[in-house]
Symmetry: C2
Subunit: 366 residues, 2 copies
């Protein structure tokens, strides 16, 4: 049996395979340097591509950027918080911050109206970003449906650098809408390097491991834009870097999904409702108390433990104690859920106090 | 044998088939009303779709628009002049005038750089348009690569209204670049009806018969945008109207093509060079003078006659005399070429005098 440690949640999802099979690199080399950041320290950010370029920019005091996209549908939940924390961390490290509301993609692929997308981007995403600590300064926010012509031009030029066959091999059957979505993502990631925005610079995209195909495609297109292959205005640009995080599981196991309220806790959720969800979450407990006392629980498979690990328990020693006491059968699920619910309620109350002024800040931005 | 008349040039290209097979309508019903316009009077504009809507707007004094695109590559020649004359005619009839420089299409499909496209659009197209009589007032000119976000949004929304299979059945094998080009054309034609530009109104697109697939596709997409089929911001719009003209032949027969200088006379061409091209143009003459005197020439197949018909001889009686004297073997090719070259030189000299100030006007616009 594999030797688990307190940070090994999610290993069962076989993230190692991504590193072996697709040329993603392990984040280990950078872990120590950035271990003040929980997601890095705990191996939740487990992989990267070309992160060395970001480190180099940091070391040389040169400009670099962080780009991320949000899909404006559903409520902002603890899974989104993970991304938000990463955005804010990069911003605090000095990154120019580019945040895209993928309203065209959500319209084309999920049939979300532009009005609804605008509202969700404002009330769910931006408001929570600001409440979590994002600063307006050095930040650029845009909707895919409403941006500068240079952005669309870059998108169109990119279309000349990729064949339909390539796209089909990455994304399966293409539709016209899917193609527009994919090209938009490419431009979202590359456009911070346009002259208009200061020219070529390292850009990091913090994403879930499932987004790697987009990253690889965008890196390929960036290389092809660099190569002067035809008479188009070729764009000098650096293939973007990426960091990869593990997914948060849903509270009932499986996927955390905006379309299934039982799978997540929203950051605007009533603390009482959040407590209830914790109390009925799937754990790594055994079927009987006796069995659990004898064999111990399995924190690696526990949704409650995952919340502590990702969000609620920043002190490693404290978390380690929970982990080992669970494994030794000393800490049972009822008590542990109580601890988690308590921490969660406290977090939500504190966070929700910041929301009204954060929302005003967001409204001003739009 | 078919009974030719002086206006029947090009019938051999079988334009009738387009009307029978593709649901294009004959322009006959409107010919008399608009017969002061040479291209209509002489049946060069031979077909239409929904032109009744334009006539209705004219009758009711309601706003309508004319939209056209230019492919900014090569020199502005007599074939382009035909389109320019149509644009100007519609403008004089009161149409809002929308002119698109398809620089993204020429980049994606013909590898023309954006710098070159800009230069060509200015020095060749716009300058000649103005010299031919286009007015700035009520006119909107744009590059596909540099326009308002609403335009790109409409383009992206359109992508949801057409499948890849449909596009493949119209255009053959699709590439990503071709797809972007096609969607751009759709937005070029439909965007004058955006709220930003005054909302729904009849729009006419004067095109060559070969452009009908674009028109049909755009009309289909317009209908689908009208139908509230999903949560997207549906656009109220009127399926665009079109008029169809016959092609001008190249001076050597075959196609008039920007890439073959022997096939055309450019409007900025040295009059002497133009004369030479006329003197060596393909005519409808017989192989020997004797034969021609006996059987007469064939103006229907004559490139020199075509120039007179389309551009150089506005007086129907005069043209009719040329036609009949040729058919009767009285007017031989040498003399006829001389008449044509003379008229052409006169036209070019007069036109080229207007070019410098027209160019200044164009420069101000960009």
């Amino acid at each position: 049996m594999k030797d688990f440690d307190p940070w090994s949640v999610g290993e069962i999802k076989d993230y190692g395979k991504l590193i072996e099979d697709f040329g993603m690199e392990s984040f280990e080399a950078f872990r120590q340097r950035f271990d003040s950041f929980r997601y890095i320290r705990r191996g939740i950010i487990f992989g990267h591509r070309d992160f060395g370029k970001i480190v180099e920019a940091l070391d040389k005091g040169k400009p670099f950027a962080m780009m991320t996209g949000l899909m404006p549908s559903g409520r902002f939940h603890m899974g989104h918080k993970m991304v938000a924390d990463e955005i804010i961390w990069f911003q605090q490290m000095g990154a120019e911050t580019y945040i895209c509301a993928a309203d065209m993609e959500s319209y084309l692929m999920r049939d979300v109206s532009f009005e609804d997308a605008r509202k969700t981007a404002l009330t769910e995403y931006l408001s929570n970003y600001f409440a979590l600590g994002l600063k307006k300064r050095g930040m650029r926010f845009w909707f895919q449906s409403d941006y500068v012509p240079e952005y669309y031009k870059l998108r169109d030029i990119s279309s000349k650098r990729v064949t339909l066959n390539e796209l089909q091999s990455i994304y399966g059957d293409m539709t016209t809408g899917k193609l527009v979505s994919v090209l938009s993502q490419v431009a979202d990631i590359l456009h911070p390097q346009l002259e208009l925005f200061g020219g070529p610079k390292p850009v990091v995209v913090p994403v879930g491991a499932d987004q790697d195909p987009h990253i690889r495609l965008t890196r390929d297109i960036a290389s092809r834009l660099n190569a002067k292959r035809d008479s188009g205005r070729d764009m000098k640009c650096i293939p973007p870097s990426a960091t990869y995080h593990k997914f948060m599981s849903g509270l009932q196991g499986g996927k955390m999904s905006s379309s299934d309220p039982k799978s997540y806790v929203a950051l605007s959720e009533e603390p009482k409702s959040a407590r209830k969800k914790i109390m009925s979450a799937m754990t790594g407990g055994r079927t009987t108390v006796e069995d659990q006392k004898e064999r111990g629980g399995e924190p690696e498979k526990c949704m409650v433990y995952e919340l502590l690990l990702y969000h609620l328990m920043d002190d490693d020693l404290e978390l380690s104690r929970v982990y080992h006491e669970c494994r030794e059968g000393k800490l049972l699920c009822g008590e542990c859920k109580g601890i988690c619910a308590e921490l969660l309620e406290r977090f939500l109350l504190k966070h929700q106090k910041k929301l009204p002024s954060a929302r005003k800040k967001a409204e001003k931005l739009l």
